[in-house]
């Protein structure tokens, strides 16, 4: 019995340690927060002093650079630094960064050796303030490329975003190629959302990417098509050729079909009609998306095709075809054979979708309180 008691006492001791750890951590965090506030004031003073000196035409003191480097090696200070910078105007910030850029090259070398979480934050700072390499040097770029191979997903995400935000097309292409070889998973959403951060000439970026489209992996290709679709870039001819040659897989086909919904391209209509004739579970998505996109192509043939789709067994195909027929503004006369036909489900789905469409457009959205 005594032994069991000892075991229990050991448990209690462990538990007490855990409690102490929790309390200590809480106190430490609170103290750190208070210290951050105190340090922030000191920081602001020093940064502002330096900025006034800069405005008077005096170069930034070497002492201040050293001071900043020693401070910013600590990630908590980097957090304070971000807060200080956010309180400054863009003009002041840019001027200041011009003079301290060199510190970030040194910091990049330092942060390369830290853990993934700190690396991620450093990459975030680079991306947020668009801190660029000097011409002929690639320290920051290389650091960001290194971070792409980091196990921490957030680090990869922040590094990817930083590279795209910096806007160097050559680097962006290089990143997208590296993703194919990476042992880590880059989701379509992650790639797509980061591509959206590119704010220079998107058509030029898309054209450059397109030249090497075959080199990328499937997720990257889908993200690129989504990016092009989102910004309605002019890629109708290229996408149409890709569909016509039938050299891409179904997932990519579906994304391209979606592009043609808002980017009307007459040549694609026949291809979409052909797609709706496909059968089998593997082609289901293609049929559904083609039916949806055909809602933007008003012709007798399209309407007949959509009516044919109402007879399919798959309810999602029927629903989508009905939606497209509603959008196309089809008259009762044109749909009389469905309304008077024997397919009860087709009739009900069509009536519901047309009613729904009319209702939505006669009742605009309201705020409920």
């Amino acid at each position: 019995m005594l032994k069991i008691q000892y075991l229990i006492y050991t448990y209690m001791a462990l538990c007490a340690c855990m409690m102490i750890y929790n309390i200590a951590y809480t106190i430490y965090s609170r103290t750190t927060e208070k210290n951050i506030e105190k340090q922030k004031n000191g920081f602001i003073k020093k940064v502002k002093n330096q900025i006034s000196l800069l405005e008077s035409g005096i170069t930034l003191a070497a002492k201040h650079r050293k001071y900043l480097y020693s401070k910013l090696k600590w990630v908590h200070n980097l957090l304070i630094f971000e807060q200080i910078l956010d309180e400054q105007t863009k003009q002041i910030r840019n001027e200041y960064f011009k003079n301290i850029r060199y510190i970030f090259y040194k910091l990049a070398l330092y942060y390369q050796k830290t853990d993934g979480v700190k690396k991620a934050y450093f990459a975030y700072i680079i991306g947020k303030y668009k801190i660029e390499d000097e011409i002929g040097k690639n320290i920051l770029t290389n650091t960001l490329f290194m971070f792409l191979d980091e196990e921490t997903m957030y680090c990869r995400d922040n590094a990817l975003r930083a590279i795209i935000k910096l806007g160097n097309i050559k680097n962006i292409l290089e990143v997208l190629k590296r993703i194919k070889k990476s042992k880590y998973y880059f989701s379509v959403e992650m790639l797509y959302e980061n591509l959206l951060e590119y704010n220079k000439n998107r058509q030029i970026l898309a054209e450059k990417i397109w030249q090497e489209f075959d080199v990328f992996n499937e997720n990257t290709q889908i993200a690129i098509i989504k990016f092009i679709t989102n910004y309605k870039l002019n890629f109708s001819e290229e996408f149409y050729n890709l569909l016509e040659k039938n050299i891409v897989n179904n997932k990519i086909k579906v994304e391209i079909i979606k592009y043609f919904k808002d980017n009307i391209y007459d040549k694609v209509e026949k291809l979409l009609i052909d797609y709706t004739k496909l059968t089998g579970i593997l082609n289901r998505e293609i049929v559904i998306e083609s039916a949806r996109t055909l809602g933007s192509y008003n012709s007798v043939e399209v309407k007949e095709t959509l009516k044919d789709l109402l007879k399919r067994n798959d309810w999602d195909i029927r629903m989508t075809a009905s939606e497209s027929l509603s959008v196309l503004g089809t008259s009762y006369y044109e749909l009389a054979d469905i309304y008077n036909g024997e397919d009860n489900i087709a009739r009900r789905i069509l009536s519901y979708k047309i009613q729904n469409y009319k209702y939505t457009y006669t009742n605009p959205k309201i705020e409920v309180s």
Partner: protein, 467 residues
Amino acid sequence: MEIVKYILMVVEVFFIIYLIGYSTFLFFSVVVGSTTLYKQKRLEKLKNKLRTNYDIPISIIVPAHNEEITVIDTVNSLLELEYEKYEIIVVDDGSKDSTSSKLIEYFEMHKVNRPIEKVIKCKREEYVYETNSLKVPLTVVRKANGGKSDALNMGINLSQYPYFISIDADSVLQYDSLKNITSPFREKEDIVACGGLIRISNDIEFEKGRVKKYKLPKNILSAMQVLEYDRSFFASKILLDVFNGNLIISGAFGLFKKDLVVAVGGYDANTVGEDMELVMKLHVFCKSHNIPYCIKYVPDAVCWSQSPEKLGDLIKQRRRWHMGLLQSMSKYRELFLNMKFGLISFISYLYFLIYELLSPFIELTGLVVTIISFIVGLINIKFMIIFFLLYATFGALLSLTIFLARIYVQDSKLSFLDFMKAVFLCFIEIAGLRQIMSIARMTVFIGYKKRKLQWEDLTRKQQKLKI
């Protein structure tokens, strides 16, 4: 006499091992739980989070039965969510009050003749109302009474998006809950379901889906449940999540991949623990068909739910939960010590079997043996008291540890009075409420058949919401 002595000794040793086993599990849960929370806080602070503007389309299904007091608030709170692409489907499962008519009137909905494909079997619909005039589409369907599972199945049949969320009609989703619960889908390829954190909303005021001020509920029973939720559900779910071993995603807030749920036949209408049954079914289905899958627990996706304030209501709730547990555990008994299922079998299933399903019976046996030992003079009273006190202190400390860790990470502030209340209540909870709940859970079979498909008829209060 020697034989009795021997039997009692064996029983005594068994109980000590049993309690140490339970404490060990709790200990690991709390260590892993609090560490995960601190890590999460650090990640958030240092911008280690996927920023997402692209929303995965979600259908939110709200099964409701006699929820006229809370349902409008629930839908209003759902309309406040910071998310773009979702729809709300309220399924009125043959309510006797005016649940659906209140919604129809309040949101000025119109009747539609909507055909419903029953990809999953469920009872017939009586009518469907819709509106597209709100931030997102809202659908109300009234159907013949068939229980919560049946209502959820109807919701799945009506849903138009590839993912659905099931929530209770008395719950409030925090403004960022959808963004957070969908985050694992961006991080991993094979996610099939995600569970959010259920927190107790009693006495908490909300403004636009945000907590205005956090405090412990005034009601002692609810306050004790806050501590119990943190220790028993929250911490253990974080631990089981480490090896994809969670067997429950609370029915109050869970996200599922629709095509997989349809493939397994949806919710089982013959069980009262539909949430656990579905998750166990997904485990078995995916493992049996060699489908790579992951079921995630997302502690920063928060759903606020009302807890029972009356002991009678709490007993009703726990009996229902226990019955659901029994049904699911017996239905998927192939998970018991089966190498094919790995740690899910040897840790998750075993934990639920010994420390959840059988615990009331084991604890009752323990009580009986203690009384017999006392009568025949075989008990070391001093040791027994020390042991019990140590066990209670240990449990209370663990509750407090995870509670404070969560408070620090998610709420930041707790008044001194509430802190003292928590310290006091964690002892009462471990050495009082737990025993009452054990007795309640043991009576689970009484009147079970009659109530098998009935909804939980608990006292509801209006949430303190400011839109």
